[in-house]
Amino acid sequence: MRTYRIQLNERAYTASVEQTGEDVFKVTIDGEVFESESLRRDSISTWLVRSTNDEIRAQTRVLPADKVDVWLAGTPFQASVQVVGTGGYAIPTPGIGEQRISGDIRAPMPGRITSILIREGESVDLGTPLLILEAMKMQNELTSPTAGHVKSIHVQEGATVKKDSLLIVVE
C-alpha cells in the first residue's frame, strides 16, 4: 500500500493505493473507495475508475516534477502527486482566509483587445467590466476580480496579445 498526497485545483487529497489484481487498484480517497483499472499502458494511459455509483474512463500522462495530467469526461486536470513518508513533503492546504486574489488581469487566451472600458486611476468593483478581448470570434468581457482602483493599463485598443500577457493591474 502506498499513500499519496495529491493536490488538484487548489485542493489537497490523501489517497492510499493498494494493488488488488494485475491491473486493478483499490484507491481510498479521504475514506471513499474507488477502483481504478488500467486499460491501456502507454505514454497516454487509459483507466476505468469506478465508485459505488458511477464509472468514468480517464486518460493520464505522467510528467516530470511529480505532475500528472488527467483528462476525464472532457475535463482536464493537472495533479501534483507526492509520495507520503518517502521524502515527499506535505502540501499545505490553502484555507479560505489565505487565498489572496491577485489584481493582475492577464489574457486568459490569445486574442485582440477590441475595447478598453476603464481608465487608469478609476475605481472598480468586483465584477466591473475592464476590457473586451476578442478570441475565436467571441467577445470576452474581462471583469475585475477584486474591488480597488486601476493601477496600470498595459495594452492599447487593437493590440494583439498572447495568452498570459499582463493587461491591467487593479489594486
Binding site: 502506498r2 499519496y4 495529491i6 488538484l8 485545483n9 485542493r11 487529497y13 489517497a15 493505493v17 487498484f25 484507491v27 480517497i29 474507488f34 481504478s36 505514454s43 497516454i44 494511459s45 483507466w47 465508485s51 468514468i56 474512463r57 480517464a58 493520464t60 500522462r61 505522467v62 516530470p64 505532475k67 495530467d69 488527467v70 483528462w71 476525464l72 469526461a73 472532457g74 475535463t75 482536464p76 486536470f77 493537472q78 495533479a79 502527486v81 492577464r106 486568459p108 487566451m109 490569445p110 486574442g111 477590441t114 475595447s115 465584477g127 473586451i132 476578442e134 478570441a135 475565436m136 470570434k137 467571441m138 467577445q139 470576452n140 468581457e141 471583469t143 476580480p145 495568452k163 498570459d164
Partner: protein, 497 residues
C-alpha cells in the same frame, strides 16, 4: 461540376464526402494555419489562400474568386459562417459565372439582414416579434427605444448571425452599455455596425423548419428541429423532431416557412427559425440562408443527404424530391463539442494529443479532428458534432450517453461534461426546457466538477504508482495550457445568454 470549398474544418469535410460520393471534383481553399487540416487530405486539389485571420482567408472574396477561377472551378460551396450569407460574395460569384451553392443574390437581398427578413416575413403574413422600426443610431436612442418596447429587450446586429452580435438588456444602463459592445462585436465580426432592438420573449423555445427550395418555386419541408439548448445565443444541442411540436403546430410552422420563403423567391437549402412562447404562439425569428451546423439531425431522421440536394438544385434547378417522399423516422440528437471550458465557455485553442471518436449503430460524429491536431485560435471553437439516432427520443439519449462516454478528446477542455450532465438531467429527459434552461444546469457544473475531481485523483494516484518516472521528456509548454484553463475558470462567465 468542379467545386471550390470556401470553408474549413468539419463542414468542409462534410461537403467533400458528398462530392466524392457523387464524383464531383473538389478544390479545398485553405489558410496558413489549416495547411495540415483533414479536408485537404480528401479534396482532389488544394489552393493556398495565404494568411491566418478570417479576413485574410475565408472572408476574402477576391482571393476566393481567384482561387475558383485559377483552379477551373465552376461552382463554390460556402459551408456555414464566413461568407455563406454574404450578398457581395454571391454577386462576385454570379459575375464570374461561378455557381454559388445557395440562394440567388436577389433572394438573399430580400432576406439579406435581420430587418429586411422581418419585413419580407411580415408582408407574407408570418407573425414577427415587436421591434424597433430600423437600426438605432446611438446609446441614447437605444435606451429610449428599449424603454418603449419594454424590458427585457435584445440588442441585435442587423447583419449578425451564428449567435454573435446579440445581448440581452434588462435596464437602460445595460441597453446603453450593450449597444456599444454589440456594435463593436458586429463591426469586428460582420464588418457592419448596425444594431436594432427586439422584445425579448420570456423563456421561449427555439424551433426551426428545414426546407429545400428549387428554382421553380417548389418548397419542401424536411420537418422541424428543436434548438432551445443554447448559451450566449449559440446552440449547443439540437434535436429532430421537437417534443414541443404536435401535428397541428408542425403544419402551421411548415406553412409559415413555405409562405415566407416563397415570398422571398428563395432557392436552395434554407431554415426558418421560430420562437414559440408558453401558450404555443410562434413568431418568426430569422432565416438561415445556408446549410446549418445542425443539418445532420435532419439527415438522420429523413435519410436525405442535404448537401446532395443543394448540389442538385444548383445544377439542375429542380428538386428531385416531393413533400410526399419526406418521412420523419425516429429521433436524432446532436451535441456540439466545442474546445471551451464547459463552465465559463472561454475558448481554449490548443493541441489535441489524442482523439478517438465514438461509433456504433445510430452514432455519427462529424469532425475534422485527429490525434496531434492543433486547434487554431483564429476560428470557431466547435471541433466535433456528435449525433445519435434512435427509434425514439429515449433511445437517442441512451446512445448519446454511451457515445459521450466513449469519445476521447485529450488535450483541450471541451463541452462534453455539460452534455453528459444534460443526458442525465430530468428536465431534459422529460423534454421540459426552453432557451434559458442551460442557465439552470450550469450551477450543477461546479458540484459535478468536484465529483469528477475525485475520479481524477484516483486515476492520478494509480498512474503515478504504475509509472513513477516519466519515460519520455515532455516540454513544459504542453502543460502550460492547464494553468491557463485553471485561470479561465476564474474568469467571470457573462450572463449574456
Amino acid at each position: 461540376m468542379k467545386l471550390l470549398i470556401a470553408n474549413r474544418g468539419e463542414i468542409a469535410l462534410r461537403i467533400i464526402r458528398t462530392c466524392r460520393k457523387l464524383g464531383v471534383r473538389t478544390v479545398q481553399a485553405y489558410s496558413d494555419p489549416d495547411r495540415d487540416s483533414l479536408p485537404l487530405r480528401y479534396a482532389d486539389e488544394r489552393y493556398a489562400l495565404g494568411g491566418a485571420t478570417p479576413a485574410e482567408s475565408y472572408l476574402n472574396i477576391e482571393k476566393l474568386v481567384r482561387a475558383a477561377l485559377h483552379t477551373n472551378c465552376d461552382a463554390v460551396h460556402p459551408g456555414y459562417g464566413f461568407l455563406a450569407e454574404e450578398g457581395s460574395f454571391v454577386k462576385a460569384c454570379e459575375e464570374n459565372n461561378l455557381n454559388f451553392i445557395g440562394p440567388s443574390s436577389t433572394a438573399l437581398e430580400k432576406l439579406g439582414n435581420k430587418l429586411s427578413a422581418r419585413r419580407t416575413m411580415r408582408e407574407a403574413g408570418v407573425p414577427v416579434i415587436p421591434a424597433s422600426e430600423g437600426p438605432v443610431k446611438d446609446e441614447d436612442e437605444a435606451a429610449t427605444v428599449a424603454e418603449k418596447i419594454g424590458y427585457p429587450v435584445i440588442l441585435k446586429a442587423v447583419y449578425g448571425g451564428g449567435g454573435r452580435g446579440m445581448r440581452i438588456a434588462k435596464a437602460s444602463d445595460e441597453a446603453r452599455r450593450f449597444f456599444r459592445v454589440t456594435k463593436l462585436e458586429s463591426l469586428s465580426a460582420f464588418g457592419r455596425g448596425e444594431v436594432y432592438i427586439e422584445k425579448r420573449l420570456v423563456n421561449p423555445r427555439h424551433v426551426e423548419i428545414q426546407t429545400v427550395c428549387d428554382k421553380h418555386g417548389k418548397v419542401v419541408s424536411l420537418g422541424e428541429r428543436e434548438c432551445s439548448i443554447q448559451r450566449r445565443h449559440q446552440k449547443l444541442l439540437e434535436e429532430a423532431p421537437s417534443v414541443a411540436v404536435n401535428e397541428s403546430l408542425r403544419h402551421q410552422l411548415d406553412d409559415a416557412a413555405k409562405k415566407g420563403l416563397s415570398a422571398a423567391g428563395y432557392t436552395n437549402a434554407g431554415t426558418v427559425e421560430f420562437l414559440i412562447d408558453k401558450s404555443g404562439k410562434f413568431y418568426f425569428l430569422e432565416v438561415n440562408k445556408r446549410l446549418q451546423v445542425e443539418h445532420l439531425v435532419t439527415e438522420m431522421t429523413t435519410g436525405i443527404d442535404l448537401v446532395e440536394e443543394q448540389l442538385k438544385i444548383a445544377t439542375t434547378s429542380t428538386l428531385g424530391l416531393s413533400q410526399d417522399e419526406v418521412h420523419i423516422n425516429g429521433w436524432a440528437i446532436n451535441c456540439r463539442i466545442n474546445a471551451e471550458d464547459s463552465r465559463s465557455f472561454a475558448p481554449s485553442p490548443g493541441t489535441v494529443i489524442h482523439y478517438h471518436p465514438p461509433s456504433g449503430p445510430g452514432v455519427r460524429c462529424d469532425s475534422a479532428l485527429f490525434s496531434g491536431y492543433t486547434i487554431p485560435e483564429y476560428y470557431d471553437s466547435m471541433v466535433a458534432k456528435l449525433a445519435t439516432w434512435g427509434r425514439d427520443r429515449a433511445e437517442a439519449i441512451q446512445r448519446m450517453k454511451v457515445a459521450l462516454d466513449e469519445v476521447e478528446i485529450v488535450g483541450v477542455p471541451t463541452t462534453i461534461p455539460l452534455h453528459r450532465l444534460l443526458m442525465r438531467d430530468e428536465g431534459f429527459i422529460q423534454g421540459n426546457f426552453n432557451t434559458t434552461y442551460l442557465n439552470t444546469i450550469l450551477p450543477q457544473m461546479n458540484s459535478n466538477l468536484l465529483r469528477l475531481e475525485r475520479y481524477a485523483v484516483a486515476a492520478a494516484a494509480t498512474s503515478r504508482l504504475r509509472n513513477p518516472t516519466p519515460t519520455t521528456a515532455h516540454r513544459m509548454s504542453e502543460t502550460s495550457r492547464w494553468r491557463m484553463s485553471a485561470r479561465t475558470q476564474q474568469m467571470t462567465a457573462k450572463p449574456g445568454w
